[in-house]
């Protein structure tokens, strides 16, 4: 992975988030406090703004800086979680140093694991992890099977979408919606939605490179 790809990905994420303002906002209004879109937008815009600072960095340093920047910019629940993701990812990229699909999959899985530890949450709790964990598994499996980038991207987009949609049927046991009990059922988790959008944006970018 080149730092330039990270920057393009950040732009793609930014655009996708901003294109889904209404949806993200109303999801968090329904079962949260309505700020998820604003939080994500603030984070995404900040990363776009510091492009010049990121450009000269190595990919791992850029990812780590993105994590730190998100940590001090987003706030809320999504801030420390997404920050942990990028910092977790950066560690693996730094260690492995190569540009193999296996490394990317391992880095992604490490990022998801960092979220899991920070949030003390797991699959089925109606959070972003319901998108991220299945995607990490699928990514790891496909990479191990030496699948092609295109195939992986198409598959991860679908997995993310399934995970996102599946949150609709769940009761939340973590995050703000955990107070809702049965009333959370029928609503997609906002963090799951924004993660699905981000994965989709990056996969689309990857498969057109």
């Amino acid at each position: 992975m080149k730092t330039s790809f990270i920057l393009s990905a950040a732009l793609a994420i930014h655009d996708s988030i901003l294109n889904h303002e209404t949806e993200l906002e109303s999801l968090d209004r329904a079962i949260g406090d309505g700020d998820h879109y604003i939080n994500m937008k603030r984070g995404a815009s900040t990363i776009v703004e510091i492009q010049a600072e990121l450009e000269p960095l190595t990919p791992d340093a850029a990812l780590n800086k993105i994590g730190l920047k998100l940590l001090s910019t987003i706030g809320g629940a999504s801030g420390p979680l997404l920050a942990s993701f990028f910092m977790g990812t950066a560690k693996v990229i730094k260690e492995k140093g190569d540009e193999s699909v296996q490394t990317y999959a391992a880095a992604f899985a490490a990022g998801v694991d960092a979220i899991r530890q920070r949030g003390k949450a797991d699959l089925g709790e109606k959070t972003m992890l319901d998108v991220l964990i299945p995607v990490a598994h699928q990514f790891t499996a496909l990479a191990a099977a030496n699948a092609g980038i295109k195939e992986i991207c198409i598959s991860l987009i679908t997995t993310a979408e399934h995970g996102m949609l599946a949150t609709k049927g769940l009761i939340a046991t973590k995050g703000r919606a955990a107070g809702l009990g049965e009333r959370a059922i029928g609503h997609i988790d906002p963090g799951a939605k924004s993660c699905q959008l981000m994965i989709e944006a990056v996969c689309n970018l990857f498969s057109t490179q």
Binding site: E25, R29, I31, G32, D33, G34, D35, I38, N39, R42, L71, S72, T73, I74, G75, G76, A77, S78, G79, P80, L81, A83, R118, G119, I171, A172, T173, K174, G175, R176, A177, A178, G179, L180, G181, R183
Partner: protein, 335 residues
């Protein structure tokens, strides 16, 4: 949305600047990162730092001052602050006896404060000690199947007041944390919304609610509560809230208690006192002796019309620390 604002992006900074100017005898405002501290740094005490999303004013900056907080870290509206704020506040106020973070139990707040605590700087070569009191007084959310625990709401003010008082005596960090945990465990709250709040950046109400509905157990960010109900007379509403609190606290007969009736921002004082009147009667019918009271806007939810009731079971220690002098923008007595 009609609000006294200029640009939504600037609302926080402009409001905090006004706060800091109006109370320039009491507080200082730091920018980049944003935090507020006492004007006069306290020495030789546990430093008490709180914080959370903005929109709950006077919580928390209004409670900075003698006998309460040393610093507050305000996040964006309804969004928890970020660790860099807590770290900078820590550097500014730590006074040799460690830091106590008072944090309302929300995933975002918990995680951001947790990350701050993990990153605390060294002081004199040793990492600054810290402890955290998580407030979780909102008994609207029943705790059975959920693992995140109850939310922290207006009871946080009582925790901050009592812990702040104890810290002023030079007590050590474990004692301060222990008192905070005790007050929290003896406190329960529940809120009712008649209207939604409107987050300025969103520009429209967080939830829709009909002219004849109320939201029972609403959160201080406009999160849905126990249930949507038909609007009823005040006595019936208050009765349900009081019963929920009694069920959560299961107080012994003749318990002494503090009763806090808290407005969410758009509820007239006249109605808050009317609620107080009914709540006080109901609690005393259940054998509870209300010996301390607080009525007003102490933990708000922007412009929400609604109110919460908080009961804190007193003992001699809590009573002493509640009564002790306090001098902050929003709570002041004995000084």
């Amino acid at each position: 949305m009609k609000k006294f604002i200029n640009k939504t992006d600037n609302i926080l900074l402009e409001s905090l600047s006004g706060f800091a100017t109006a109370h320039s005898d009491l507080v200082s405002l730091n920018l980049d990162p944003i935090f507020l501290t006492r004007k006069q740094k306290a020495t030789n005490k546990v430093a008490i730092i709180s914080g959370g999303g903005s929109g709950h004013e006077p919580l928390h900056a209004g409670y900075i001052g003698y006998g309460m907080l040393d610093a507050a870290c305000p996040g964006h509206v309804f969004t928890s602050p970020t660790p860099d704020q807590m770290l900078a506040a820590t550097e500014a106020v730590h006074a040799g006896k460690g830091i106590l973070f008072i944090v309302k139990n929300y995933a975002g707040d918990v995680m951001n404060f947790e990350m701050a605590a993990e990153m605390l700087p060294l002081a004199n070569g040793l990492p600054i000690e810290s402890a955290t009191v998580l407030t979780s007084d909102d008994c609207a959310v029943m705790n059975s199947t959920y693992t995140t625990g109850r939310r922290g709401v207006a009871g946080t003010v009582i925790v901050e007041k009592c812990v702040g008082s104890l810290a002023e005596t030079g007590a050590d960090l474990p004692s301060c944390k222990a008192l905070g945990d005790k007050v929290n465990s003896r406190t329960a709250s529940m809120g009712v919304a008649l209207t939604s709040c409107t987050v300025p950046a969103a520009g429209r109400p967080t939830f829709d609610i009909g002219d004849t509905e109320l939201e029972m157990g609403v959160g201080i960010h406009g999160e849905p509560g126990r249930r949507r109900e038909a609007m009823r007379e005040a006595d019936a509403i208050v009765k349900d809230v009081v019963n929920a609190i009694l069920e959560a606290l299961k107080p012994e007969q003749n318990s002494e208690a503090l009763l806090l009736v808290n407005g969410f921002g758009a509820t007239p004082l006249m109605e808050l006192y009317l609620i107080y009147n009914t709540a006080a009667k109901l609690f005393s019918q259940h054998g509870i002796q209300i010996s301390r009271s607080l009525v007003g806007n102490y933990t708000t939810a922007l412009d929400m019309a609604g109110a919460s009731i908080t009961l804190c079971l007193l003992d001699d220690e809590i009573k002493q620390h509640w009564d002790s002098p306090v001098h902050t923008a929003a709570l002041r007595w004995g000084k």
